[in-house]
């Protein structure tokens, strides 16, 4: 038995199928989670190419989260679509026909390495963990594209776990 606070990440995903779809969902928080310290959201664009002449930053939709036992929204933010498309400027093309980073443009090794180098940080929450989170997601990406886009919204909750709960006796109670 150990009495210590550990950190881990909970993952939940929501499937969107139609344009403008409004999806309500619940995330059950395990009993040993005592605090939610951060949240990270994202939508992976399945339709991108590794290298394109242009890139558009797209917004997926509005995500709102509420906690049981509390009124109002504790997190509300637009979710960005993660586009791993590279444009020539990212690879050192300076716009007048020359490349400044020491490699040519359509180098697939460099393109694939750079496409996986995105850096993200969680949003700080620091709230007491409720039993259930109620979420609402409103799609705006499909409306902007004027078509039904099927994609998954991923929600990663950074949580603190009280390991005291994870004794054999407590596990039997749960």
């Amino acid at each position: 038995m150990s009495n210590k606070l550990l950190s881990t990440v909970l993952h939940h995903h929501v499937l969107i199928r139609r344009r403008g779809q409004i999806v309500s969902f619940q995330i059950t928080i395990p009993r040993d989670v005592v605090r939610i310290v951060g949240i990270e959201t994202g939508i992976r664009n399945r339709y991108c190419r590794p290298l394109m002449p242009w890139r558009r930053d797209q917004t997926g939709g509005l995500l709102s989260l509420r906690a049981t036992g509390d009124k109002g929204v504790f997190y509300s933010s637009y979710v960005k679509v993660q586009t791993n498309t590279m444009i020539p400027v990212d690879l050192g093309y300076n716009g007048n026909g020359t490349w400044i980073a020491g490699f040519g443009g359509w180098d697939w090794l460099v393109v694939n390495a750079a496409a996986h180098s995105g850096h993200r940080e969680p949003d700080i929450l620091d709230i007491t963990a409720p039993r259930v989170l109620h979420g609402t997601y409103t799609d705006t990406w499909g409306i902007g594209e004027s078509r039904d886009i099927t994609y998954r919204l991923s929600i990663y909750l950074w949580v603190t776990v009280n390991d005291l709960y994870n004794t054999p006796e407590q596990c039997m109670v749960q």
Binding site: G20, Q21, V23, S24, D70, K71, G72
Partner: protein, 105 residues
């Protein structure tokens, strides 16, 4: 939804929110003219829809109630804060019944 269920729900919900039985209840009956949209602010208060209403859209931070929508998987009966009510009918008025819970503090 039966009125008794709404009263029971409000009683438990207000206790859950920490108000106990320290709140007032009001029955609100809104009448919206054809195509009218009204915005009301109920800070810290709870409004629970008494019965499903057709051809009416109710929006708040808590969610959305609109029986005419096909792309939504859950409708919200409980609203608070700024509530926007819209009559989607162009030719006749709409009636919306709420039970309103107003906490003392």
């Amino acid at each position: 939804m039966h009125g008794a269920i709404v009263i029971d729900y409000i009683h438990k919900r207000m206790a859950e929110l920490g108000h106990g039985d320290r709140y007032d209840l009001r029955l609100r009956h809104f009448v919206l003219a054809a195509g009218q949209e009204v915005k009301n602010c109920f800070p810290g208060q709870l409004l629970v829809l008494m019965e499903p209403v057709e051809m009416v859209q109710i929006r708040s931070d808590d969610g959305l109630f609109d029986l005419s929508l096909a792309n939504i998987n859950e409708l919200q009966y409980e609203h608070s804060g700024t509530i926007v009510m819209k009559n989607l009918q162009a030719d006749k008025p709409a009636h919306i019944l709420f039970i309103q819970a107003i906490p003392y503090q």
